[in-house]
């Protein structure tokens, strides 16, 4: 089994290095095929490991020592257990699909080879993240995915907006990573280890306040990766990257790392339910907050990005309320349908020559039948309509909130479910239905390559069946590691009212979205309204950050350099130097060569020496005298 573990882990790395060899050369198809093939090997290995885990075993290996000093011992250790194997499956499935898709999508791009190198490196980092058996290893993956995300967002590095977004994403993540790092330090100094099993065993014996801090700091780390408020702005900007990247990194895998962390650290969060409540509340807030921004946005990819943000909020609600397996389940289902949605959007972008405004599209269903069907499936799944995946995972979170008596959270999430359905189908209606507005703008859309569609199909199938088919097996598997909990509403009547009510509510939202946007009528009155503008400008948060963090930082840096470093610190040093120099310059008049002046100085020096000799001698006498009389004064 260990061999499979190593294949699953290192095949993407080999692929990345292989493609990297061709990095600076023009497109070579083999640089795309080999990583894809290796990733498929990784998928197969993961599947074998999954069957192994399903049989009730886990695999745990220690590759080698990483750091060892003092009492600290950090190995490269990897574990395949119920949680990590779930993540491995999600990561490998989605990334295999994305790799194949990218061969088509990046077909005409100059950086084809480079792209695959980065993409496979990302998969490797993600595998390290989910498979590590200690927090330091997790952190390696954590930063590794950050690096790859930076590389991939800024993939088209000649675009100012892309590189800006890349740096923004990296730096925002770094802010959160500091929190994570502090969390790791806290864990080490309190438990003496960073291995999951030892930490979780020791954590119960710690003071509750320490555990609270650990929980908070780890969650700060999670907030950055999962783009939770207030560190959320990078995710929407990250849409500057190529669309397959958005599908893989910014929808399916990397952004869910935060959720994974909370799920993985469940023994810690179990001790501190109050922190869990905060997490859940923040999650619910983000769910609503992000969905509201998705309502009005006019950028196809950003709408989906906000949707991702909103769904991450859902996951955090579940994780925060202690329903870790539900969070992980939604993570999985979401990865499938959201990746599908993004890949569909990628097809649309290709067809429309990278146009992103859905108001310029319309009626594309005729030209792009396959994409239309898949995106609709994904949207239905996202909206949570029975029997697609979203129904089982997302409604489960609603039930969790209800059963745990967090009715406010429940209401927020329910409303958000309506909003989700609305914006998803607003997008579908705008892109695929109504008049063919694209003709006005002179676009000539065409369907994507056949094989791209074929390889999207598995995701579509999973988006449909993942909820129905896997829930039971999945539940049995992960609850061996995660706290079990069937979240059933006690009265059957309430349950049915809730379920059917939610379905009807969501259905109505869909119908409303269709009615309103089928013809893409733009209501000028609404658009000039305050709320529309507020939502359209993302609550003015990016502007706020620009104004109150970025600019002051830049200005302060300038002040530090020009005014403090050069004018104060350095000037002080120069002043001291200049004092000596000037003293020399001024006093060299003494050496004017005139013998009588020099003699006068000599005499002055002599007098000075004599006087000081006398004064010091006297002072010494006086001091000695004082010493004799001082003790007498006190008595």
């Amino acid at each position: 089994m260990e061999t499979y573990l190593y294949i699953a882990l290192f095949a993407p790395l080999v692929g990345s290095l292989f493609a990297g060899l061709f990095g600076a050369r023009p497109k070579t198809i083999i640089a795309g095929l080999v990583p894809t093939g290796l990733l498929f090997a990784s998928l197969v290995s993961s599947t074998i490991l999954l069957t192994h885990v399903l049989a009730g075993n886990t695999v745990h290996v220690e590759l080698m020592t990483w750091m060892e000093t003092g009492d600290l011992y950090i190995p490269f250790g990897f574990v395949v257990d119920q949680v990590s194997v779930t993540m491995m499956m999600v990561v490998t499935i989605v990334s295999t699909v994305v790799h194949v898709y990218s061969i088509g999508y990046m077909d005409h791009d100059k950086g084809f080879n480079r792209f695959f190198s980065y993409l496979s490196a990302f998969v490797f980092s993600m595998m390290v993240l989910v498979m590590s058996d200690n927090f330091a290893g997790l952190f390696i993956g954590w930063e590794g995915v950050g690096l790859c995300s930076w590389l991939l967002i800024g993939f088209w590095y000649h675009k100012e907006s892309a590189t800006w977004a890349a740096n923004e994403a990296f730096i925002m993540n770094r802010i959160a990573d500091l929190g994570m790092l502090i969390g790791i330090f806290l864990i080490y100094w309190n438990t003496g280890s960073l291995q999951y099993d030892q930490v979780f065993a020791a954590v119960a014996g710690l003071e509750i306040s320490t555990v609270v801090w650990i929980g908070i700091f780890l969650f700060i780390g999670a907030m950055g990766k999962s783009a939770q408020f207030p560190l959320h702005t990078w995710l929407a900007d990250a849409m500057e990257g190529p669309t397959p990247v958005s599908a893989l990194i910014h929808a399916a895998t990397m952004v869910t790392a935060g959720v994974y962390l909370v799920v993985r650290a469940n023994p810690i969060y179990d001790i501190i339910p109050e922190v869990g409540t905060v997490i859940a509340s923040l999650g619910a807030f983000v769910a609503m907050f992000a969905a509201s921004m998705a309502l009005v946005n006019r950028d196809m990819k950003r709408i989906i990005a906000y949707s991702t943000l909103s769904q991450l909020g859902y996951m955090f609600v579940a994780a925060g309320l202690g329903a870790y397996w539900v969070a992980l389940f939604h993570l999985m289902a979401h990865a499938f349908f959201k990746a599908l949605l993004f890949l569909g959007a990628g097809n649309v972008m290709h067809a429309m020559s990278d146009e992103l405004d859905p108001f310029k599209m319309g009626g594309l269903s005729k030209k792009m039948k396959g994409t239309f069907i898949m995106m609709t499936v994904a949207s239905v799944a996202l909206a949570g309509i029975y029997p697609l995946a979203g129904f089982f995972s997302k409604d489960m979170i609603l039930e969790v909130a209800f059963v745990e008596h967090h009715y406010i959270l429940y209401t927020v999430l329910l409303l958000t479910a309506g909003l989700t359905a609305f914006y998803s189908f607003r997008l579908i209606a705008l892109i695929f239905h109504g008049e063919e507005r694209y003709k006005l703008f002179g676009f000539d859309p065409h369907e994507a390559y056949k094989y791209m569609l074929w390889f999207m199909a598995p995701l579509a199938v999973l988006a449909v069946i993942a909820g129905m088919m896997f829930k039971g097996t999945y539940y049995d598997m992960v609850t061996q590691l995660l706290p079990a909990g069937e979240y059933h509403v006690h009265s059957a009547f309430t349950y049915w009212v809730m379920t059917i009510g939610t379905q009807i509510f969501v259905g109505l939202a869909i119908v409303y979205a269709y009615r309103k946007y089928e013809n893409a009528k733009i209501d000028k009155k609404v658009e000039s309204g305050f709320f529309y503008q507020l939502l359209f400008n993302q609550y003015y948060i990016p502007q706020f950050y620009e104004e109150f963090f970025v600019k002051p930082y830049r200005d302060l840096s300038m002040i530090f350099w020009k005014h403090i470093d050069l004018k104060v610190v350095d000037a002080t040093v120069d002043m001291i130097g200049n004092t000596f120099y000037k003293t020399g310059k001024e006093t060299h008049v003494m050496q004017n060569g005139n013998l009588s002046t020099m003699l006068r100085w000599m005499v002055a020096g002599l007098v000075f020496l004599l006087v000081s000799a006398i004064v010091f001698a006297k002072a010494n006498d006086i001091f000695a005298y004082m010493v004799t009389i001082v003790p007498g004064l006190g008595a």
């Binding site: 060299h588 003494m590 050496q591 004017n592 060569g593 005139n594 009588s596 005499v603």
Partner: protein, 101 residues
């Protein structure tokens, strides 16, 4: 009135002060030499007096040394002075500024 050590020292100090003022005030190089001689001899007086007072001959020996050095100094100095006078025709101190720093 017995003439004691302090009288000699006062004399020495007065001589030294005269010499010092001479060193500071005189512009003529020749007079400067005179002043220097007075300085040295004031010290000689002090040496001799203290030596006698302590009954230790070292001080008086030192005075001899000083006299010898003063003599040689005057010899060298006067030689230089004459050379300088031959070159410039003046022995005014303010004109001698070639050693400007």
């Amino acid at each position: 009135m017995e003439i004691g050590l302090s009288h000699y020292l006062v004399l020495s100090t007065i001589l030294f002060a005269i010499g010092l003022i001479g060193v500071m005030r005189r512009k003529n190089l020749l007079l400067l030499f005179f002043a220097t001689e007075i300085l040295l001899n004031s010290v000689n007086v002090a040496f001799a007096a203290i030596s006698h007072y302590h009954g230790d001959l070292t001080g008086q020996m030192f005075a001899f040394f000083v006299i010898a050095i003063a003599a040689s100094e005057v010899a060298v100095g006067l030689g230089l002075l004459i050379v300088w006078y031959k070159r410039t025709g003046k022995i005014d101190l303010d004109m001698m500024t070639t050693m400007r720093g």
